[in-house]
Symmetry: C2
Subunit: 440 residues, 2 copies
């Protein structure tokens, strides 16, 4: 079929199915040969996304004087399993225990908008399968779209909604749950789910991508496949993050949800366990544990909410006026400070901290070094802060401490009770306490 040079080719082009291979030629004779990839509703009118033989995708604005040729037979309907009906999986996959995939948006479920060149999230289950046909190759995967946004827009109330969906998935018989999530705030969400979910009968695996799945360099397919495998095969019951261990596609680190942080803006191996090695890794030879993960519970999984968002996280820096810090804390029930070194702020901040503690605000200390323990007993500043009632949170990451604060505020009324919850180990989040003590 060749569109007539005289008629506008756009209507015919947009009617072609995803996967169709075509050759497109502009009026100057330039031509592109490629496969039509899913078109986002937010893509501009007349923008046709093509995957070229090089693997790169391009978006082409199709003028009325363009011509095109259909090169092969139209693709067959992709072998989409009945994603919502776990029991209907094919016999050879029926032995594999079912996994539920919760999607939230984020790069792993995003695609390039070929008009702007930017990346926008998609939430549609069919589109996920179009990008990740191998998703269901190892067994049934039940896809449940929960949110549809980039992770910088995920808020504390979403953590609770996600926790509830995890609980529902296990209640429906999932062996493990995968959450496809934007990487920007994945460490916050993984910590939140670690505190919010109790009695987990199987793995909860957060996974993301640093490149969107319609780009040839995407880490999305390999990360997602690894996450599904960990969720299906992992014999443990806690919240983890699975991402590239290094730059190659062969190995994936399994990080504890409370001890992981995004430490690079763009690399595939951006996620690092802090203050502890990763729990383990998945490579071609299987799952390997470096530390003992939390065992599976009998279940049922419980959502141990609620949370109270009246907590804050403030990073100290030289020149931060005490009044500005005090104003930041105003109206909050608790503040996690990311102090310097072993947990310090300028001594000029002691007054507002004392006043806040006097009126019942919980002030907790972590370190902006993002590694190592805080300790109020080494320097005079720390001693005075501890004497004022600042709670030192050992080796908790500031982000984990903040998330735990919101959880603790949702579970206790009085400052001493909130403090007791913050100091108690809830989800394997304290590492230093368990290490043999020696001079360092």
């Amino acid at each position: 079929m060749v569109a007539s040079a005289a008629s506008d080719p756009w209507d015919a082009l947009r009617a072609l199915p995803t996967g169709q291979r075509i050759e497109l030629t502009d009026p100057h004779g330039s031509s592109w040969t490629g496969t039509i990839v899913p078109r986002h509703e937010l893509s501009g009118d007349r923008i046709l996304p093509l995957k070229l033989a090089s693997g790169y995708n391009v978006g082409i604005r199709v003028g009325p004087d363009f011509r095109f040729r259909v090169l092969d037979a139209p693709p067959r309907t992709p072998p989409v399993v009945a994603a919502r009906s776990v029991g209907a999986s094919a016999p050879d996959r029926a032995v594999a225990p079912p996994v539920t995939l919760l999607t939230t948006g984020g790069t792993i479920a995003s695609r390039v908008d070929y008009e702007t060149g930017g990346v926008r999230p998609v939430g549609d289950e069919r589109e996920i399968l179009a990008f990740y046909p191998e998703l269901v190759s190892g067994g049934p995967v039940h896809i449940v779209p929960v949110l549809d946004r980039l992770s910088e827009d995920i808020a504390p109330e979403d953590w609770v909604r996600l926790a509830e969906q995890v609980g529902a998935a296990f209640a429906r018989g999932a062996r493990g749950v995968v959450i496809a999530h934007g990487t920007d705030t994945m460490g916050f969400t993984s910590a939140a789910l670690s505190f919010l979910l109790a009695d987990l009968p199987g793995p909860v695996v957060l996974v993301g991508a640093q490149r969107s799945p319609d780009r040839p360099s995407s880490d999305g397919p390999s990360n997602l496949a690894a996450a599904v495998r960990v969720a299906r095969e992992g014999d443990f019951g806690e919240v983890v993050v699975v991402m590239h261990e290094g730059l190659s596609d062969g190995a994936f680190a399994i990080h504890r949800g409370t001890q992981v942080r995004k430490m690079h803006s763009s690399r595939r191996d951006a996620f690092e366990s802090r203050n502890a090695p990763p729990l383990g890794r998945l490579d071609a030879t299987g799952l390997h544990w470096r530390r003992r993960p939390h065992p599976r519970s009998e279940g049922p999984a419980r959502v141990d909410g609620p949370i109270d968002a009246r907590g804050g996280l403030l990073t100290f820096y030289p020149g931060l006026p005490p009044e500005r810090a005090a104003a930041f804390a105003d109206g909050l029930r608790g503040v996690v400070l990311a102090g310097t070194g072993l947990g310090h702020v300028a001594s000029s901040h002691l007054d507002w901290i004392r006043a806040a503690i006097d009126r019942g605000v919980v002030i907790a200390m972590t370190t902006q070094c993002l590694a190592g323990n805080v300790d109020p007993f080494v320097y005079a500043t720390g001693r005075e802060l501890a004497r004022a009632g600042v709670l030192y949170l050992d080796d908790l990451l500031p982000e984990t401490a903040y998330v735990k604060l919101l959880w603790a505020l949702g579970h206790a009324t009085t400052p001493p009770a909130v403090a007791a919850l913050l100091r108690a180990e809830v989800a394997g989040e304290f590492e230093w306490r368990h290490l043999p003590k020696e001079a360092t």
Copy 2:
């Protein structure tokens, strides 16, 4: 000499010189043998600090019924060089070019307060030499106490004072300048001096210690010796940080002042160059460069002040209410955001950011990942932020960007002029711009 059991030994003990070896016995027969180390004026009454044979220091509260024995002859007066008179150095050291050591307090110039067990800074030149007798072994060192405090209490105005002292030291003929500084905020100060000092005729080396010099495990002596050597022998003219490269005493990393961050609360090798390898290292075989440091200038060194402290640094996190962020920015001329990933905040923050920019506030973006570039052109959120006028600062650390903001605010009046200074390379602070571009 044996103090009579009937008389209180305290007056005799406190009169003994530093360095005197004694045996001290309590009424129960327990005894300690050690050397008297300098006693801090803030140490409690009757507390005698002793360095034991094990190398550990203890503070002993001397009761009236204690006894002591003087074990050796009193020590000779330590060979303190005339620290303030460079020209008066001994002939064999006269060939070594002079180095100026500015002290500011911090652990490297701190000692344990034997009453409280905490660490307090000391500023006294003689005490520095008592702790670091080897300081002057390689040549003359001119000691200038500038500040006397832990580094969490060092404020932006102190950066200018330090810069002026560096300029004065070079004007007096120093070959290089060492600044002994607390490690907690050393990265802020090194960045500040990088922007504040121009036309440097020699090295400016910040150095600190993670353990105070009166503790046997102190990294202070080896760090300080390394810093002095880099200042004396280094053929370059920029601000660097010299600290342990690893856990052993044999190798020291030389970090560019704008690219270094304290990344562990207690380890000796807490300092890391971010987004670039260290400039070089010093080991037993000498100085080795991995990157080309900025060459020495003809001088004279200039202090390129002033700075304007009406800037702030705010780290975004999920659940940060836009109103709280807006209030934090209120009254400031500029705010550096430490956003997520490639430089994002929740889209709910766009309104206050637009309003702040409209009234002339400079809003700049960095990444809380602390590595990698920010980029507003990958995701929809970044595009909207850039369209609102947020300035993306490539691979600057949030802390370096904040310090540079204060410097830029001191040098320009209008927001576009401040923005132009922030985007211009001033002290080798941008790395990513100079790298060959390739898909990552």
